[in-house]
């Protein structure tokens, strides 16, 4: 049986070669996104950002004298769908690249298909480290989970905080990853981790952990958990007389964070992908155009979608072709791309090495603090 399989493969590649040769005036890009279902708010944002980026690039004349044609498919936030529609995008629509998704699980599903067919995949917001481990055709424009730990360590050092305690949620890989990289970077930078404490998702009483942290008199406490527990930790820390800033990652972003914490989190900081309050002209221009088009403020997912399209256009320009093999090399060689989510360089594992945004909490609201370069 094995002998015969090469025939259809040759056939398919012959057709796709013919396809790219024939579609001379446009570059077909496939996008799979969660436009409906549970992740629809993220999926819609990322799709809008992507769509807007291609509109702008086309209005400016496109690349290689060709215009982009974006073919978007909805995966309904459902498992199984990403594989089906990405197969369709590649085999029927003959796209040269695939963009998507915001969810790591959906991206991990689609990635092997792109890898097999030698079609580059750029994901805007799948942060799980496993995504790009699928193969060399897969890359991303967001940073991976552990990176935020490094960012917060640098931020803490820049603030002059030399002694920091870490409180980790041992039930979340996300939290453990952030904590591990925070400790590594913080100690390498000359800081001292005075206490490493733990809790588990669902815990409500943190006074025992906080008491053992308090006696070490830290300058700040790094809590890379999710908003539910972080809010309670903050309240109890203040009651116990711990006045130092608390630091965290994008897991802090959640509706009930400030509702439960009240003003306990004032003066605290966390890392995120993007802030619409970033005053750089590039970001402000993006925000203005996005608001004019969609009548709402762009979030981090919209910004990442926008940058995924930008990076693709940039890579095609440098490669001078849409051939998958050469294109993947050009994408991987992305260096210093000025995106709205920061200056993006792809590292050897094709993960974006870029600056993160630090947000401050002031008077019970989020406020842009600064960018931190990797």
């Amino acid at each position: 049986m094995h002998k015969f399989t090469f025939v259809p493969v040759v056939l398919v590649s012959a057709i796709s070669l013919a396809g790219s040769a024939l579609g001379a005036d446009e570059i077909k890009v496939g996008e799979f996104a969660a436009l409906t279902g549970g992740s629809a708010s993220f999926g819609q944002s990322s799709h809008r950002g992507t769509e807007m980026a291609f509109d702008e690039i086309n209005a400016a004349g496109g690349v290689l004298g060709k215009k982009f044609k974006l073919i978007t498919e909805d995966d309904q936030s459902a498992a199984g769908q990403p594989a089906t529609i990405v197969r369709k995008l590649i085999s029927q629509d003959k796209v040269v690249t695939v963009l998507g998704e915001v969810r790591s699980s959906a991206t991990i599903e689609a990635a092997p298909i792109c890898q097999e067919n030698k079609i580059p995949l750029i994901t805007p917001a799948a942060t799980n480290p496993k995504v790009t481990e699928v193969g060399d055709y897969i890359s991303r424009v967001c940073f991976i989970d552990p990176f935020q730990g490094t960012v917060m360590a640098k931020f803490a050092l820049s603030k002059g905080w030399k002694k920091v305690a870490v409180l980790t949620d041992v039930k979340q890989d996300y939290s453990v990853g952030l904590a591990e990289f925070f400790v590594k970077a913080f100690t390498a930078g000359g800081g001292q981790v005075v206490k490493e404490q733990k809790y588990s998702t669902g815990d409500k009483d943190f006074k025992a952990q906080l008491t053992s942290i308090k006696v070490t008199k830290p300058d700040a406490i790094f809590i890379p958990g999710y908003y539910g527990e972080v809010a309670l930790v903050a309240r109890q820390a203040r009651l116990l007389g711990i006045k130092v800033p608390l630091l965290g990652g994008d897991g802090w972003v959640g509706d009930s964070l400030l509702k439960v914490a009240g003003n306990a989190l004032d003066g605290c900081f966390f890392s995120n992908h993007f802030s619409e309050e970033d005053q750089s002209p590039l970001v402000q221009g993006f925000v203005k155009k996005y608001e004019a088009k969609y009548h709402e403020k762009p979030d981090a997912m919209a910004a990442l979608g926008y940058d995924s399209a930008g990076i693709l256009a940039d890579a095609i320009k440098r490669a001078g072709t849409t051939d998958g093999d050469k294109l993947k090399g050009a994408i991987a060689a992305t260096k210093g791309f000025q995106g709205v989510t920061g200056s993006i360089t792809l590292d050897p594992q094709r993960n974006a090495s870029k600056s993160a945004v630090i947000m401050a909490i002031v008077n019970g609201g989020f406020k842009f603090e600064q960018n931190v370069a990797p």
């Binding site: 041992v170 404490q197 733990k198 809790y199 588990s200 669902g202 409500k204 009483d205 006074k207 025992a208 952990q209 008491t211 053992s212 308090k214 006696v215 539910g228 809010a231 309670l232 309240r235 109890q236 009651l239 116990l240 007389g241 009930s256 509702k259 439960v260 009240g262």
Partner: protein
């Protein structure tokens, strides 16, 4: 006094406030067991319902006592939750346990697990599974300890911690007074001693059992409010862990013994704080449930429980 000692003292304070919650729930377990000889596993979920009573009715109740958090308002919320939980407890007993009273104890035990699952999943359906932010019924803050007390002024004791501990002790004394000095209490003890003889002596068994359930559930309701004051994030599954810990506390103190339940609750609370503070937080639950196994192996009657000879 050294820093180390101060830290230890602080952990004991933390443990006592958390342990008070376990103690309040354990009192309900132990009372029902004392009278009916069965473990009401839905008891932890009544505690959860107590917290939700405060969540839904708390803000309106507080308004009756002026704007914002106030002590009379908090007391009213506490009493309201206790009253509603008492009714819930009585209804649960009437609908689910009473028809099975003559059946083997195992049947009632399994029903209790069913009621517990019903309340947890029904709670997720009705209230939603996401954590809710509990309203501030009092303004919690750390108490000022005069600097003249020396090193001990470094200790942090919050108003809610004092409140939880105080309310628990008061309720324990009220409860033992009811059991020892009132007519209903005497009926409870008689029923516990010998149900058939008690009935022959003219004791209305149904009334006494309803009363027992009501009392125990009221305490669970109080625990629900007090815990939410300290940790203002509540969800429909909050009763599972607290209920299990309280069960361990009741067994540790000697199930059926009121003072034992409180002692057990406080000990478990302090043990947890010590393990989290000095050993490793991930060992907290294994150690607490290890205590349950150990006590059942070594002294099944618990610390304060009298050994009971099997009646022939």
């Amino acid at each position: 006094m050294g820093d180390k000692l101060l830290e230890l003292l602080q952990q004991v304070v933390n443990g006592l406030s958390q342990g008070s919650i376990y103690a309040l729930i354990a009192l309900g377990y132990t009372m029902v067991f004392g009278v009916l000889r069965f473990i009401n596993f839905a008891h932890g979920d009544v505690y959860m319902l107590g917290a939700f009573v405060g969540f839904y009715l708390g803000p309106k109740t507080l308004k009756l006592f002026g704007d914002g958090p106030s002590y009379p308002g908090a007391a009213a919320v506490l009493l309201l939750s206790m009253a509603l939980c008492a009714i819930i407890g009585i209804v649960i007993e009437k609908i689910c346990y009473r028809p099975l009273r003559e059946r083997p104890k195992l049947t009632v035990l399994i029903t209790a697990i069913g009621v517990s699952l019903f309340l947890e999943n029904g709670g997720q359906f009705v209230f939603g599974a996401d954590p809710k932010s509990f309203p501030d019924v009092i303004t919690d803050r750390a108490l000022e300890i005069p600097a003249s007390w020396g090193k001990i002024s470094g200790l942090t004791i919050t108003i809610s911690q004092v409140l939880v501990f105080g309310v628990t002790l008061v309720l324990m004394f009220v409860l033992s007074h009811i059991v020892r000095k009132t007519k209903l209490g005497m009926a409870m003890r008689a029923l516990s001693f010998n149900p058939v003889a008690a009935q022959l002596m003219g004791i209305n068994v149904d009334v006494v059992i309803s009363f027992t359930f009501g009392l125990g559930s009221a305490l669970a309701g109080a625990a629900g409010i007090l815990t939410s004051i300290q940790q203002p994030s509540i969800d429909p599954l909050m009763g599972i862990n607290a209920g299990l810990k309280a069960f361990v506390a009741a067994v540790l103190g000697g199930i059926g013994n009121l003072q034992g339940a409180v002692l057990g609750g406080l000990l478990i609370g302090v043990l947890e704080a010590i393990v989290v503070g000095y050993v490793d937080p991930t060992y907290r639950d294994p150690i607490v449930f290890g205590v349950l196994i150990l006590i059942l192996l070594v002294k099944p009657t618990g610390l304060l429980g009298a050994s009971e000879r099997e009646k022939v």
